[in-house]
Amino acid sequence: MEDTFGEDDYFGEDEHIPAHEVLQTLEDAWLNEKFCPDLLPSQDSYVEAMMEQIQQMEDNLTKLKKTDFRVEVHHMELARIRYIITSYLRTRIEKIEQNTAFILEQETTRSPENPHLSEGELNYAREFLALQENHQKQLVLKHVPPPFQDFMSTQQSLVPNLRSHIFLRAKKDVNGVVIEGDRDTRDEEVDLEENSQHIMQYKPIANLIHDGSVQLI
């Protein structure tokens, strides 16, 4: 990977993040998003940076001779990166379409500095919800008795199962994760050691994904 991007590949003028670190961040975000029941904060700035990088590398590749064997290797590498990016964004779009109203409502409770949706995704979610509402009105709601005609988006929307189980690896030591008990058991506290792997419910560790202490696998 380091070979594909030379050590002098940097992003932007002021942000000096090596390209392979950006890729690593995106790969982590992609896996997290894939295995997480809820929608995680968007990494759109990284996506954008990576796309610019791809563009640049494609331009560079056209300058190389076709017979140069490195061309093939680099094309392969680019195809892999493109797959990660598109798969990441596809996963997010699927979640947005499935739980549109829930995600939009969650988004209004967050501060503007800490959004989970990128601008494009937010517009998309709003348009998609309007589309669904109109569709339901046309096909169902118009034809049912008057008191049953409202759409009530939040009530009809599906909600992600935050109690579903996930596999995770701790990236650093985390102490005192509280696991809520149910009626028969009491709350329990567990410590996660660095590099240890666990299966647990998503809810207690949701915050740890956000601050990067754990990685879903």
């Binding site: 195809a79 598109t86 779009i93 589309l131 339901q136 096909l139 034809h143 008191p147």
Partner: protein, 198 residues
Amino acid sequence: MPLTLTQRCCHLLAPLIPFTVVFIHLSDDDGVRQVFEEMRGLYDQNVAAANDSTADPDGTAISSIAIRHAALERNKRCLMAYVFNRSKKLRNMRWQFGSILPPEIKANLCEPEIQWFNSYSKCLARYMKSIGGQGLNLAQDVKPPKSLYVEVRSLIDYGKFELDNGEVVLLKKHSTHLMSRAQCEPLIIQGVLEQINH
């Protein structure tokens, strides 16, 4: 056997549950209409019962109203689920075939559904254009790349197909080619080519 209360709507939903089946003779209009009729009937009974306040000495009318109300809610929910799941199938078609629906599928859709498909298509295209400032087609690169080139067999007489580098290949039925994955992926999804696995 006549279907009892609210059973009709379950019959609508049942064929949608196995998701692998591309069941798209979706406009079971008759079934939907019968559910609407059932709902109107229930509602009228409820209105009549509510207006006739004299005849409820033992509170039975109240419980009947509550039951009918629950049935109405349930029917509404089932109808919406039916419409939602159909739109989800249509959505998958958009990802599979692009913005133009194959005619045999279009024949099974009602007018609002065709409109929904077109609006969805536009909505998605707008989002894809906005990604990263330069736009990105998310319907591509759907499988993790294992090698740059794949061996494919043409399933139909497709005709000439121009490659990125300007070369033209003739895709005849049963002919096999070694092509770059990125270029033939859309054709594989559309069912023009088939990947040959060794």
